[in-house]
């Protein structure tokens, strides 16, 4: 189920919220069952995989905290060995499942291609929804248990609820157990929380449905014509359109998750901090998908030694982090390339001009605004030939005659001009600032009501006519 669907908005959410509020004593179990229904509607089989993963992970964490009666002398040593074993096994199982579902075909295909023959079979598995997110949450839980950040083992119900909780199950943010542990034990839902939560949710819904989905059609339009024979301005327009689409899509989803979290009595961390106003790519990544960035920082980069072990080691660590970040986003070479491009640019910034950019007034902004869309193009186009064609188009190179030229550009601008301006405005911190200033004023309430129903209208039209997103 998606947040931006009629089924969620008008069936699941109201029914769930009523039950949730009527039985304050059983909130965790209500939330867990609700979340499993939420997940199971779309993934009736993978819900079993999810439950199995939860059970196995809980088993390992239980083993980690297990204290058998043994002689006092080597108790500590044994305990530490046991903890390590449990951690390694748990992480191996989690990554193994992720690997099989997400990366096997990519890895096997690449090996087969390199070997020139097919000696590894392809599985053609469907990717379970949200597996990248919940796997990372469970790994963070295991590592936190191992490190002692989580001092006391969570109850099975709490752990399962933490992993499966529907606001963040499918698309993050990646919440760490420590961030919700207290609320997991007991939480109050005040009327103000419901009100503010629903407002946030509506804002997110608007970002997703009214901005991301709409501007996405422009990118689709341009890619439909095909990369390789685009006028450079059309290519840039497409890159900006996709940059807006992916941002508002993901930010919108994260804001919806925060809003829902608030309605349930949780404080889900925020995931985006206006990334497009950054002055460098390093700053961009401190503001973009913040929970993933900090996950890699805390569980990969710092354990590898971070930047404390000399330049060579730092570079190596950065490379590992960015290759993994690339792969996390998808199992294809363009994602690896995307990660490596970030590795190169970020290392360059770190070693040379990063500080100066961040202190500059305008230059840093121009640098980010021009480079980030290029990285998104690499992210978006899986086919390497097409990707090369598109990147060529961006700098004005095309092997054959331009097919999509000024005529189409004018038409696109006519059709999408207003939307593009709206996207630019919402990429700045201004709307958020105004919202926090006036969020209880009647005109904001009415505005949000408008956003809500306008979004619903788009969703309903989209379901009657499944092509709204693509618009033939």
């Amino acid at each position: 189920m998606l947040f931006s669907s009629v089924g969620f908005l008008f069936r699941f959410l109201p029914v769930f919220m009523i039950i949730y509020l009527v039985f304050p004593k059983y909130r965790n179990i209500v939330l867990l069952i609700g979340s499993l229904i939420f997940y199971g509607v779309g993934e009736p089989y993978f819900v079993l995989l999810l439950l199995l993963s939860v059970a196995i992970n809980y088993g390992f964490s239980w083993y980690m905290f297990w204290e058998p009666h043994s002689p006092q002398t080597n108790r500590k040593k044994k305990a530490s060995r046991r903890r390590k074993r449990a951690l390694v096994l748990a992480v191996a199982v989690d990554l193994g499942v992720l690997f099989v579902f997400k990366y096997w075909d990519f890895a096997a295909g690449s090996i087969n291609a390199a070997a020139g023959k097919g000696f590894l079979p392809l599985l053609s598995l469907v990717l379970p929804l949200g597996i990248s997110f919940y796997t990372f949450q469970m790994i963070s839980y295991q590592i936190d248990c191992y490190r002692g950040t989580i001092a006391k083992r969570a109850g099975l119900l709490s752990f399962a609820t933490y992993v499966c909780m529907f606001p963040q199950l499918i698309a993050g943010p990646i919440v760490r157990y420590g961030e919700v542990a207290e609320r997991m034990a007991s939480r109050r839902v005040r009327i103000r929380d419901l009100e503010n939560g629903l407002k946030l949710f509506t804002l997110g819904l608007g970002l997703k449905v009214l901005l991301a989905n709409q501007i996405g059609t422009l990118w689709n339009l341009i890619m439909t014509a095909g990369a390789g024979r685009l006028h450079p301005l059309v290519a840039w327009l497409g890159a900006f359109a996709y940059s807006f689409q992916i941002y508002f899509d993901f930010w919108g989803y994260s804001v919806m998750a925060m809003g829902l979290g608030k309605m349930l009595g949780f404080a889900i961390p925020r995931n985006f901090d206006h990334p497009y106003i950054s002055r460098s790519l390093s700053e961009f990544w401190r503001r973009w998908h913040m929970t993933l960035g900090s996950w890699f920082k805390e569980y990969v980069y710092i354990p590898l030694g971070g930047s404390r072990k000399g330049t060579a080691r730092t570079m190596c660590n950065l490379f590992v982090v960015w290759a993994l970040t690339g792969l996390w986003h998808g199992a294809a070479w363009n994602f690896v390339l995307w990660g490596i491009v970030f590795f190169l640019l970020l290392s360059l910034e770190k070693r040379t001009f990063g500080k100066r950019l961040e202190q500059s007034l305008v230059l840093g902004h121009i640098y980010t605004v021009l480079l980030v869309p290029v990285t998104w193009v690499i992210f978006a186009i899986t086919d390497m030939g097409q990707l090369a064609g598109y990147l060529g188009n961006l700098v004005g190179y095309h092997r054959e005659d331009i097919l999509v030229g000024v005529t189409q550009l004018v038409r696109y601008l006519k059709e999408y001009g207003v939307l593009l301006i709206a996207c630019v405005i919402f990429a700045t911190p201004l709307p958020a600032k105004l919202y926090w200033k006036w969020k209880d004023r009647w005109f904001v309430v009415l505005f949000l009501l408008g956003v809500f129903w306008w979004s619903v209208r788009e969703i309903v039209l989209g379901s009657n006519n499944p092509f709204l997103y693509f618009r033939f």
Partner: protein, 386 residues
Amino acid sequence: MNGNKMRTFLEIIYNCPFILLVIFTSLVFVLFFDGAKEHKDEQEVAVLRLSDEGAEEENSEKGNDIAEESGQKKDDSIENDFENEAEKKADSAQNAGARKEKEDEMTINKDRKTDHTDPGNTGKAGRVEKHTTEFVEYAPIETNSRYYSDAGKIALTTVHDYVLENESYFNDAAFLGDSRTLGISDYAGLAGADFFCDNGMTIYKLLEDDGVTYQRTGEKVDLKEILQEKHYGKIYIMLGMNELGYGDTPMYLKQYLKVIRQIKEWQPGVIIYVMANLHVSREKNNMETEFNNININDKNVASARLANGRDVFYLDCNPLFTDEEGYLQAELTFDGVHLYAQHYDKWRDFLFEHGVEREEVLQTEADGQGKGFEKMGGSDGGSASQ
């Protein structure tokens, strides 16, 4: 106590106006939407009724019966097929629509016959086949959708002695369609033709006031006016994708028929090409929604029935772009729906290869002499006498 309760109540309202507004409007909308749905149904019924009345106005009940009888007498597999299909699928109104078309044809035939009787031509009727859109049948699958059913057959391009044309053929051509036609406009390089198309265009919207964009100027125009003012030699229509999730196939067919009849009325002697809607890719094909090739094929088969091999031709471009299972080839498309710009060349060539020379025919027919007249008279005489 009571005052306290009142105060809490007011506090709640004061604290969560947004939630209350959303809940309140939701309830209002639930009531409204149910009403709207009924309203829509009523409208559809009204549309059906309207076309019924239209049919009855022109032809009396008796005329209807005669048409039906003669329709049965005619040993014409396709039209019988049409009739059967219509009976199976649609309500009586649909039948009337089908009958109506037949009557139209009959009237035209009769008119021609009285105008230019040429006894020597009936023998040639066999050579110039009239209803020559062939259907390949297969075992239909069970579908459970209010939008479509499995047609159980595939329509092939109308059989005809097509002529290889060049770009000048399209100088008096108009294309009416959705985003796929927009693609032809943008990338097929048919500069001489007029394109009237929009993303999301449907057969229902086509003739609305200011309903469609004239691509040469980029402005919304009223196609009704244009078709009455400017004369086109050929009109290409390709619509059906945005209708997949609206109404159902009989309703689509009925509207298509209406549009074609209207165009024929405004553009006497025009050649109409009904173009098949391109299938979608395997990835995009979704049997759980109405967005799949079974539905597209259902629409295509329906529109192919409108082809008569005389002035309406059905062109199926799908074989150019689909694999053996009928899916749009993945490497030809980004979104599984639209061709990449570079592949429209193939489509253009396909259109070049399927030219019908009708103007000459009409010209000579008007003069009342020449080969074209024989050809014309032959086919018409044949259809009337059979």
